[in-house]
Amino acid sequence: MSQAPMPDFSSSVKLKYVKLGYQYLVNHFLSLLLIPVMAIIAVELLRMGPQEILNVWNSLHFDLVQVLCSSFFVIFISTVYFMSKPRTVYLVDYSCYKPPVMCRVPFSTFMEHSRLILKDSPKSVEFQMRILERSGLGEETCLPPAIHYIPPTPTMDEARSEAQMVIFTAMDDLFKKTGLMPKDVDILIVNCSLFSPTPSLSAMVINKYKLRSNIKSFNLSGMGCSAGLISVDLARDLLQVHPNSNAVIVSTEIITPNYYKGNERAMLLPNCLFRMGSAAILMSNRRSDRWRAKYKLCHLVRTHRGADDKSYYCVYEQEDKEGKIGINLSKDLMAIAGEALKANITTMGPLVLPASEQLLFLFSLIGRKIFNLKWKPYIPDFKLAFEHFCIHAGGRAVIDELQKNLQLSGEHVEASRMTLHRFGNTSSSSLWYELCYIESKGRMRRGDRVWQIAFGSGFKCNSAVWKCNRTIKTPKDGPWSDCIDRYPVFIPEVVKL
């Protein structure tokens, strides 16, 4: 709510307390209402005296039929309620892939290779250098072995070999962590946007681990960086239909076949930002997993802006003038991402925001639309709804934009920035690296709520809300275990190459 600016420190402190008081009042309205009601009843009881109370009690005719009907009614309502309640879906555990250190790509190596490969286009090399300097990536991100060659050797064999390396390592780790036997996997969902061989990657997983023949397997391709949350949504829906089941989700992006070999500037960006990574997640609706599960899935909201042409074309795979295939990123990407986010939080807001914020938003909306007052649109304070934020590490610009839009502090976006620095843009798995960062820092407590936001081509904005089920001890192994003490690092605006 806008007010006349009051420059005094004391008045801003007063404002803070007013705001806190208001929030407490509105969010606990019902509990606060209970107090006067109980007071009235207590006063009334005291006034009546014990004899009168006994008379009132005796006057109630407790007929057998009445008692039975009432009980049946209560039991019937409870049954209907429990049957129609959606099954709680838990995230038991997940595992992120740590690329081998031999695949590391220092900035200087990337630039030298770039100069040798693009020796006829010095302007494109210059462009790549400027992107890299401002990218927010660090010196420890990794590319698959085939891309280390001058020029890269992206054969199908190499792509499959990368897929096997990243997926199998993550899955082995997941099986070990959770004690899950391969033959117990009921649902398998693999999402990888740009590499879709025949047989599919999910078939590759089934072949390797000898999964059951009646497994429900799905392979999602072409859905961009937000496909990780689409897989979670699919798993959730399937777990509503199949009782007592679990689902394994593998989110990855295979870099080998997608290295852009041309020199069109708008299409060179992905070469600079995309890096190797993957995550394997175990979800379950079994009651036995309730005690060991890390998170509970509370909400999942998917927003698709594909109906709008500008959004549809903003991340577009196409051939350049020389016939080389690459992904064209439009200049309006940030604006479109902002629009998609607004659409998503319009749906998400009422689900997660406390009543105080929703009321303020409503007042602001009424004021602006109905009374035409010149108020700034009220941005609800999402920090009240969540303890942790995982913003897809698509690039530095995305994180900056969201930090601005949601008015988040540096610490809230730390997981995203540090993941971008250490691992680069690992596409759909980046949300899981960020979650792992928060756990590795020992910040995840029971009851904490996490908001994962992912953007993807189409243009889509998907977000998931998780609630931490148990306080998580700092993991001893995992992608961050050997470097977490060095983080957070200061990432300069422009790195001097």
Partner: protein, 423 residues
């Protein structure tokens, strides 16, 4: 882009280039300085090849071979950096983890066929060599070539910029690789330039005789030469040297004396005889521990008599009195562009270097070759250990038009037993 190594139509082909770096990032802004002595060597490159048998190396994949280099570069990160210049123009190394170039290639011959040739200078095609420049910031200082023979044997070829170290350093590097391959931990203690142990500078201030100033080469570090150089390699036995050429001294000095005399005879008497030579050998008071650096003693020998007619005894005695010129070179090394090897007829003693200790599966290499790129017109002779303890490999690099005459002289004096045409 500097002149490309010709892939050509020879038996070695199928070049696949990639880069090998370190696993731990070096702090941004780290630099590594070079001394005057290092800078004086900058136009030279050490080329070394180790050939391993199929039994030892058949199962090694490219990743097996690349893998051990990473921990070494973690320990010695500056050799994987890139050159840059201070405002004064003095080159230094920026430790930016850019890495070394790794080249994979195939050879159509089996190892046996390859080793059948007794002139081992054919091994030069197993080294992917590129000079530093024309852009210093994008020139790797080390090139590593891995060649797979038809039978499964393996050759590892190194092209190593002399500014970072000498042939002993190359052997040290190779030994570290072999140890890392065997699973050992490698550890390289840091050394500082102040512990270099150079002898005190000669107060006469004379320019050292062992080096020659050349026209400025700018940023393309190729030694200019007027003649086309050619290399010939042959084996000698220590027994042959000691018994047939009666002279006191170790076999390197005797060998150098013999070859010096042959070359003097080939060049004809009078003014064209080489009366000054350069001797490059390991420093007997060498600093421990071993490190990558230019530690070889560079000394000069000058005689007043005619070498072609002299007795071997006298020549060997003069060689024994060589004067160490490293301090003088160090003082002037940064001021201009120089060549050292071939500035005067140069003899390089690598016979004690432990190339054969770099073992795969506890098997030494079956053959080691080492030479220098950028040798000047006076020529150079490199003496290496051979696979067999009693033998030495001698590699002679001379101008093309001199080589036949010298080979004839060497045969006449009995050093080379047989001379087959074309070898």
């Amino acid at each position: 882009m500097s002149q490309l190594q010709e892939e050509g139509s020879g038996p070695v082909h199928g070049f696949l280039l990639s880069t090998v770096s370190s696993t731990q990032p070096t702090e941004t802004g780290t630099t590594h300085e070079r001394t005057g002595l290092d800078l004086a060597m900058k136009l030279h490159y050490v080329k070394a090849v180790c050939i391993y048998s199929a039994e030892a190396a058949r199962e090694l994949t490219v990743m097996h071979v690349k893998g051990p280099f990473f921990p070494i570069f973690n320990q010695i990160p500056w050799i994987s950096g890139r050159l840059s210049r201070h405002d004064s123009g003095r080159p230094f190394i920026k430790c930016n983890d850019c890495g070394t170039r790794f080249v994979e290639s195939q050879c159509d011959l089996t190892e046996e066929e390859w080793l059948r040739v007794s002139d081992r200078s054919v091994d030069e095609s197993l080294v992917y060599h590129q000079p530093v420049g024309p852009e210093l910031a994008y020139s790797p200082l080390i090139y590593i070539q891995m060649t797979r023979f038809k039978c499964g044997g393996l050759a590892l070829g190194f092209s190593w910029a002399h500014i970072i170290g000498d042939a002993l350093s190359v052997s040290h590097f190779l030994n570290l690789w072999a140890r890392a391959l065997a699973g050992e931990e490698v550890y390289c203690p840091k050394t500082t330039d102040s512990e270099r142990g150079l002898p005190n500078p000669n107060p006469t201030g004379k320019e050292p005789g062992s080096i020659k100033r050349v026209d400025p080469v700018g940023d393309l570090w190729v030694a200019p030469s007027d003649s086309k150089m050619t290399t010939h390699s042959f084996n000698v036995t220590v027994k042959n040297i000691k018994t047939n050429f009666g002279a006191n001294g170790n076999e390197f000095e005797i060998l150098s004396g013999i070859i010096w005399r042959c070359i003097a005879q080939a060049r004809g008497g009078g003014g064209s005889e080489p009366v000054t030579i350069t001797i490059i050998r390991s420093d007997p008071n060498g600093l421990k521990p071993r490190a990558v650096r230019n530690s070889q003693m560079i000394s000069s020998v000058h005689v007043d008599f005619s070498v072609a007619e002299a007795k071997l005894e006298e020549i060997v005695k003069s060689i024994g009195k060589a004067t160490d010129e490293r301090s003088e070179i160090d003082e002037i090394g940064e001021s201009d562009d120089f060549i050292v090897y071939g500035a005067k007829l140069t003899f390089v003693d690598l016979s004690e270097v432990d190339f054969y200790e770099a073992k795969i599966k506890e098997t030494s290499p079956v053959s080691v070759y080492c030479n220098v790129q950028g040798i000047g017109d006076e020529g150079a002779v490199v003496v290496l250990p051979a696979a067999v303890e009693e033998e030495r490999v001698v590699t002679v690099t001379l101008p093309e038009d001199e080589m036949e005459k010298v080979k004839w002289e060497l045969k006449k004096c009995g050093l080379i037993k047989t001379l087959i045409n074309g070898e």
